[in-house]
């Protein structure tokens, strides 16, 4: 199948929706920039993986999800968590290690969880959450629940054996699972040509009889359209779908990455495809928003992020006496 953006024109007429997509992407972007800043101030520690450049994927895919649907993600999951409606404050509090964080501060940046929002991590063993996603979809099927499970993972993850086993199990069991590969061309510092012999990842679906599609992951409207198509198929057939979003990460893999493995020029070329200005321009062109609208969104985002920082700052640390809590339930 082709990139959907090549198949159909992706346009919208709904001003509110356009504004919302833009707002969401801007919010993630700002959140990530602020996180980087807070990392250098040592407010955040451990590993920190930023999503800058890839916002269109989380935001686009999430449009097609419902409240009841399950989401599983990786260690690069702030964007997914935000899109899923976890507030910036509790996420940041988590990254500060505060009791008010969405995982009570126990998890940190790589382990955001929110059972109420059906957001299941924040998983830091690459591809380790794929089998779990299959299982959650299986549970939905067995309980005749009307929801699907959406699992985000990277191009690097697709090389792991868990990818193969999970794709096969999902197809065999015909479970309602959306497998979203965020192909940002790198697994840490290893380019996809060194990690996959066959680099058109969407073609891997055929090996399992899973319907697959690739989409331009720098175009939020295209991603949304593809995700809606995919989830509609899943909801009607009950079968899994494999969606490859081709995207790029603008920043380093983590805060410990000197980016020796790629040229600045490559990054610069990709930055020209930045999904946020791209959408802005489209919305302006289609006269759905004005420059003033955008200004206002910027302000809104700024305020929200500042409130999040304040919330995280004012959070408290869990008493050390509680250290051994949550090893077992009782």
């Amino acid at each position: 199948m082709e990139e959907t953006s090549g198949m159909q024109t992706t346009t919208i007429t709904d001003r509110e929706h356009g504004m919302d997509l833009l707002y969401q992407m801007m919010r993630i972007r700002r959140f990530e920039e602020k996180s980087a800043e807070l990392y250098t101030k040592a407010k955040i520690r451990g590993f920190l993986h930023l999503y800058v450049g890839e916002e269109a994927v989380a935001v686009g895919v999430t449009q097609a999800l419902r409240t009841m649907d399950n989401v599983l993600s990786t260690y690069r999951e702030h964007g997914h968590a935000l899109s899923r409606g976890i507030t910036a404050g509790v996420i940041l509090a988590e990254m500060f290690g505060k009791l008010q964080g969405c995982s009570r501060g126990r998890g940190g940046s790589m382990h955001l969880f929110d059972a109420g929002k059906r957001f299941y991590g924040g998983n830091a063993i690459v591809a380790g959450h794929l089998p779990m996603a299959v299982g959650m979809a299986l549970a939905s099927k067995k309980q005749k629940m009307d929801n699907i499970t959406c699992c985000f993972f990277g191009d690097g993850a697709a090389a792991e054996g868990e990818f193969h086993e999970s794709m096969n199990l999902a197809a065999l069991w015909e479970v309602p699972l959306l497998m979203v590969c965020e192909n940002n061309l790198y697994a840490m510092g290893t380019a996809i040509r060194y990690t996959h012999a066959m680099q058109d990842l969407e073609k891997k679906g055929a090996g399992y009889g899973i319907e697959s599609m690739k989409v331009n992951g720098m175009d939020v409207l295209a991603v949304e359209q593809a995700a809606r198509l995919a989830t509609a198929k899943i909801r009607t057939t009950g079968k899994p779908f494999f969606l490859v979003c081709n995207t790029y990460r603008f920043r380093a893999h983590s805060m410990f990455d000197a980016e020796l493995y790629r040229d600045k020029s490559e990054v610069e070329a990709w930055k020209k495809k930045d999904p946020i200005p791209a959408l802005m321009q489209q919305l302006l062109e289609w006269q759905l928003v004005t420059a003033a609208d955008i200004k206002q969104l910027e302000l809104k985002v700024e305020t929200e992020i500042q409130q999040a920082v304040d919330f995280a700052e004012s959070g408290t640390l869990e008493p050390v006496e509680e250290l051994t809590k949550f090893v077992y339930s009782k």
Partner: protein, 325 residues
């Protein structure tokens, strides 16, 4: 009522399936084949393929799927055909099942039960004769059970399924055909405490799994020789039941730990170390261990036998410890 260990296991599974709609069994060959060791034979016919799921060879995949299904509201019983294949799924068990509750700050329970057939004595050679209870017993977040008796083969699954946390149950292949008496209404057993299988005052033989009946047999012969040995079945390998261990030491002042697993960094070492830490001054002599010889299991019978603690070895060792020889 005489019942085989296999039948005890099967009754437990059948009962679990009957009691709770959310329970299902999945594993390689559990359905159409009837289970690699015929434990689940007939259950596919009785409960259908939705409750008894044959899965492909993908240990990481289907164990992970079991964890996911537990997160999603089911009560999966996942069979890893034998412990020998479980390393392929160990990342799922350790980094997911054992860790999610904590990582999520208490939000996510993983009520999955993993059954693994294990043990030695059938000439299955190096890749098929592992006793990896010690590996799993090292991991916080897991509850690790060892069904060393028919009673536990029959009763542990029920209790494990009530538990909100992940439970691994080790079952012993070599015992499948062994018959024992069980009351017709045998059922749930606790999964918190070790169990004194035989009271005694001269020495404590602490063991689990395939060691339990061996130790009881040894104790019987020792009685004849005038030695009154206490036999403790640890049952719960994680978290270990300190109280039962220490109480027994306070009573007998001498301990032999018997374990089929390899001789270093094992459960016997842990028992010894805990005694050392807690009741050192109660000891009349150093705690001794009788464990598997540290060699990948050889195929020939005489070498396999030599690599495992046998009843005679236990007797000899106890006698030596009591200067009875």
């Amino acid at each position: 009522m005489k019942i085989t260990y296999r039948e005890a296991l099967k009754q437990a599974i059948r009962e679990a399936l009957q009691n709770d709609e959310r329970v299902f069994l999945m594993g390689e060959d559990v359905g159409r084949y009837g289970g690699a060791f015929a434990v689940s034979k007939g259950l596919l016919q009785e409960f259908g393929p939705g409750r008894i799921m044959d899965v492909p060879l993908s240990e990481s995949g289907f164990v992970g799927a079991g964890i996911g299904a537990a997160l999603g509201g089911m009560r999966p019983v996942v069979e890893v055909m034998t412990v020998n294949f479980s390393l392929l799924a160990m990342d799922q068990l350790v980094n997911n099942a054992a860790t999610l509750l904590h990582m999520s700050g208490g939000q996510l329970n993983v009520p999955v039960v993993i059954r693994m057939s294990c043990g030695t004595g059938r000439q299955l050679a190096a890749q098929h004769s592992h006793s990896w209870e010690p590996l799993y017993a090292h991991i916080p977040g897991l509850i690790v059970l060892s069904a060393g008796t028919h009673e536990d083969a029959r009763g542990m699954l029920h209790t494990a399924l009530q538990c909100p946390d992940p439970v691994i149950i080790f079952e012993y292949t070599a015992m499948l055909n062994l018959e024992a008496d069980l009351p017709a209404d045998a059922g749930a057993v606790n999964i918190d405490r070790a169990c004194v299988r035989k009271e005694g005052k001269d020495i404590s033989i602490i063991t689990y799994g395939a060691g339990v009946y061996k130790a009881l047999d040894a104790a019987k012969e020792l009685t004849a020789a005038g030695i009154d040995a206490e036999v403790i079945d640890l049952r719960v390998l994680r978290p270990l039941d300190n109280i039962s261990i220490l109480d027994s030491v306070r009573k007998t002042h001498r301990v032999l730990v018997v374990e089929e697993a390899w001789g270093s960094v094992n459960i016997a070492a842990e028992v010894s170390a805990r005694i050392m830490e807690n009741v050192f001054y109660e000891l009349d002599a150093g705690v001794q261990r009788l464990c598997g010889i540290e060699v990948p299991m050889p195929y020939p019978k005489h070498l396999e036998d030599a690599s495992l603690p046998q009843i005679e070895d236990i007797i000899k060792k106890v006698k030596k410890m009591l200067q009875h020889d």
